[in-house]
């Protein structure tokens, strides 16, 4: 680690550009380049889901990462925003009054308004507390809203939800929004807008106060701010951005169902944000990419994908509390440090050990899952049949875990020696 303290504490113009503008330019460039590679419709639908989840996870991190508020009910705002957008989409279809000139492209704004309104109503009682009471209130409210979602058929459409058709109303930018590659542009645009807006929010005085409230609410009070009020305002914005993601989802899927409001998606967004890394702005985006992919594609390979998800999450909590983003940052720092050869060697060994152990665990899980689900399949990685009644299977799994553990331990002890 080199000492980067310079005389002027303010960042230079070039540094400002590098840290605050360049990443978004790169992101925009990536978003533009993706369609040039000619992705399939499956890839498009996955990308669209990722975009929605990115905005959703970022909005969640406004609470957890930035303001230190652990919520178990963030899907409520995603869902209510989405429902608002869905009803607006139906109004566009019937073309009554003002809605006849409202483009579907702008529906996420309706979602934002819906989510923010819900946040303003629900946030008022819940933001009076922080910490665990806040978490518990969010859980209770999520249960209440989810139950209401099934009860109030006229608003939430019952089990089958509300559906609409996005190919109505005035077209914007020449996008009919019919084919999925046109929807991609819609999602890409709003993902970028949402990301930039949420990043800009962290730069506002309110965003800064949020971090202060997270770290030391007492001192915030001493300097004349009301922590409750700060939390409340941030909560409204977080709800709004979640609603924005909901509006994007409404256009992408053209359907909204009540289980979107439930605690299960609320838990999933928590996993996305935390796995990605709540201390970094881009962390939740990483988490969104990984977990959306896992959800939609890992299930093709293994029915135990939830088990892997649980394992991944626990590993992150135990060994990398700053998430994937934290791991990436420390790797890049390692690459820049003068004794990088040692560090990288140690990491490589550690990673090799982890990979060995992980392979052993995967074999155990896959063999067990296949035996348990009773389809009569045998786990055959690379053509090797690993039958559950074959001792070789278990010896292999155990051996891999043992060897991996030993390699990890030995490289770990190196680390201790190095640090001492």
């Amino acid at each position: 680690m080199t000492d980067t303290l310079s005389i002027s504490l303010a960042p230079s113009q070039s540094e400002k550009f590098r840290t605050r503008v360049l990443p978004f330019l790169i992101m925009a460039a990536v978003l533009v380049v993706i369609p040039l590679t000619g992705p399939s419709r499956t890839t498009y639908s996955l990308l669209n889901a990722i975009g929605i989840n990115m905005v959703f996870a970022l909005s969640y991190n406004m609470l957890l990462g930035r303001a230190g508020l652990l919520s178990f009910g963030h899907a409520v705002y995603f869902g209510l925003g989405g429902y608002a957008a869905m009803h607006a989409m139906q109004a566009i279809e019937t073309g009554t009054g003002l809605w006849s000139i409202f483009p579907v492209f702008a529906l996420p704004l309706v979602g934002f308004a819906g989510g923010a309104l819900a946040g303003a109503v629900i946030g008022w009682p819940s933001c009076r507390r922080a910490g665990i009471p806040f978490a518990m209130i969010s859980l209770g409210l999520a249960e209440l809203v989810a139950a209401a979602g099934f009860m109030f058929t006229s608003l939430f459409g019952g089990e089958e939800g509300v559906s609409g058709d996005r190919m109505n109303g005035p077209e914007l930018f020449g996008l009919s929004l019919g084919p999925i590659n046109e929807v991609y542009w819609f999602i890409a645009a709003w993902t970028l807008i949402g990301t930039v807006a949420m990043f800009a929010f962290t730069r506002t005085p309110l965003g800064k106060m949020g971090e202060a409230v997270r770290d030391n609410p007492e001192r915030v009070e001493f300097v004349g701010y009301d922590p409750q009020r700060v939390r409340y305002l941030i909560f409204i914005f977080a709800g709004g951005f979640a609603g924005l993601a909901g509006g994007m989802a409404a256009v992408n899927y053209e359907i909204f169902t009540p289980e979107t409001l439930s605690v299960i998606p609320s838990g999933f967004v928590l996993l996305m944000a935390y796995v990605g890394g709540i201390r970094y702005f881009a962390g939740p985006m990483l988490g969104a990419v990984l977990l959306t992919y896992m959800q939609s594609n890992l299930s093709d390979f293994t029915e135990a994908w939830l088990l892997y998800l649980g394992l991944l999450f626990m590993m992150i909590v135990m060994f990398a509390p700053s998430g994937l983003a934290g791991v990436l940052v420390s790797i890049s720092q390692g690459l820049q440090s003068p004794d990088r050869r040692d560090i990288l060697g140690r990491w490589a060994r550690y990673a090799a050990g982890a990979l060995l152990a992980f392979t052993g665990i995967v074999i155990t899980i896959e063999v067990a899952v296949r035996e348990s689900s009773g389809f009569g399949e045998v786990f055959e990685p690379f053509g090797f049949a690993l039958a559950p009644d074959n001792p070789v299977t278990w010896l292999l799994a155990l051996g891999l875990v043992g060897a991996g553990g030993w390699v990890m331990r030995s490289s770990g002890s190196d680390k201790e020696e190095a640090s001492s």
Partner: protein, 410 residues
């Protein structure tokens, strides 16, 4: 080195077999939960579909093509189902089967309608084996959707036919889950009872939140206070088993007319207390009189998968599909759909037919009672279902009027 060789060989073999088989395979996309808390239903369905496909393939395949079931895990989430649907379509799959959750079925119907409209020449058919919202074959009916299970109204029609013959039942209590299906059951029960047995008094009509009640004793207490002679419930899963447990513990000995009394896992959890108490209305249970061939078939299935034979309608679906493809002779969903509409078919449990006007299968239904005196038992217990004396309901009795105005491709 040897290892490497075999690895390469395996990889080459794998790619070869894929490219060879794709030419003359007929892929069916199975979109249902294979992970999470509804995986039991999805797993069981998949086993039935695989078994049915194997039977068709042994007999020479559908229209000479090998039938393959490709599973997609939708986690009973409508949005995720749409992603999986896209995956299936991109893999060249033109036939989708699904059953768990009317929310998913509704999303799929919508999406497939839109897809077929936006992508002519690439049509997709949806064969629904268990989602029972009546709307799918009424207001929201679609040329691309076929349903092989009796919908909630049809089952209620059958149930009330049976009820009309039970002169000792004078008071009925209706309990359901507070969502679309529970409400549909309650409404159908109220109107149909008023029609067929105006003398029956409905002493209670109640809904409770879905999956939130742990102790049903207070509800049972209310039923007892109301002197109900029978209870009608559309409850499924835990809401059903807990209700029956509470009823048997309180000694509430009246018939419980259920839709899902024999649902997966229900038999094992309800246990002895449900004997004589639980009745169900289904298209199939294992103790209906049938041919020896069918009995052997059930045994083979159970031996292979270690699971009870449960979805007869999956076999009906696959057999009719097979027949339609044979008739058409090619993999063309539009022609297959026309062939399916109006098709008549003989099953081990009687004749069935696919209505042309709304694509709803008409099949015989059976009212059966939970019993310990049965030849075929379920879920490793000593219990099973046995058909009631008046329990054979002719398919035509379940033919309900439809509001469907179907748009057919020209």
């Amino acid at each position: 080195m040897n290892y490497l060789k075999s690895l390469v060989a395996a990889a080459v073999l794998a790619t070869c077999s894929i490219s060879v088989s794709s030419a003359d395979t007929l892929k069916i996309g199975y979109i249902d939960p294979l992970s999470g808390h509804f995986a039991l239903a999805g797993d069981t369905g998949l086993k039935h579909f695989r078994y049915a496909a194997d039977r068709i393939n042994e007999a020479g395949g559908a229209g000479g093509m090998t039938v393959e079931i490709v599973p997609f895990d939708n986690k009973v989430n409508p949005k995720e189902s749409l992603v999986q649907l896209q995956k299936a379509i991109d893999q060249g799959i033109r036939y989708i089967v699904q059953g768990n959750g009317s929310s998913v079925a509704s999303a799929l119907i919508d999406a497939i309608n839109k897809h077929n409209k936006r992508n002519p020449g690439e049509e997709v058919l949806f064969l629904n084996y268990a989602a029972v919202d009546p709307a799918f074959t009424n207001d929201r009916c679609s040329f691309w959707h076929f349903r092989f299970d009796a919908d909630a109204d049809m089952k209620m029609a059958a149930m009330t036919d049976w009820l009309a013959k039970q002169d000792d039942i004078k008071k009925v209590y209706i309990l359901g889950q507070d969502y679309s299906f529970g409400k549909a059951v309650a409404n159908a029960a109220v109107t149909m009872i008023a029609e067929k047995r105006p003398d029956i008094e409905i002493v209670g009509n109640e809904l409770h939140p879905l999956g939130k009640v742990k102790d049903f004793t207070p509800y049972v207490q209310k039923m007892m206070t109301s002197d109900a002679d029978a209870v009608i419930t559309g409850n499924w899963g835990q809401d059903m088993t807990l209700l029956i447990k509470a009823a048997s513990a309180a000694g509430h000995n009246v018939p419980y007319l259920t839709y899902y009394g024999g649902g997966l896992g229900a038999v094992a959890t309800m246990g002895e207390g449900a004997i004589g108490l639980v009745k169900q209305i289904t298209e199939f249970h294992q103790n209906i009189d049938t041919s020896e061939e069918q009995v052997a078939n059930m045994d083979r299935f159970q031996e292979r998968y270690g699971t009870d034979y449960y979805y007869q309608r999956v076999f009906t679906l696959m057999e009719m599909f097979d027949k339609a493809v044979d008739e058409v002779g090619e993999n063309d969903p539009v022609k297959v759909a026309f062939a399916l509409a109006g098709m008549e078919h003989e099953t081990p449990y009687g004749p069935v037919s696919m209505r042309e006007d709304n694509h709803q299968l008409i099949q015989p239904l059976f009212i059966s009672t939970f019993s310990d005196d049965v030849s075929r038992t379920l879920e490793g217990t000593a219990f099973g279902f046995t058909t009631d004396p008046d329990g054979n309901i002719n398919g035509d009795a379940t033919r309900t009027a439809t509001t469907c105005q179907m748009e057919r491709p020209s």
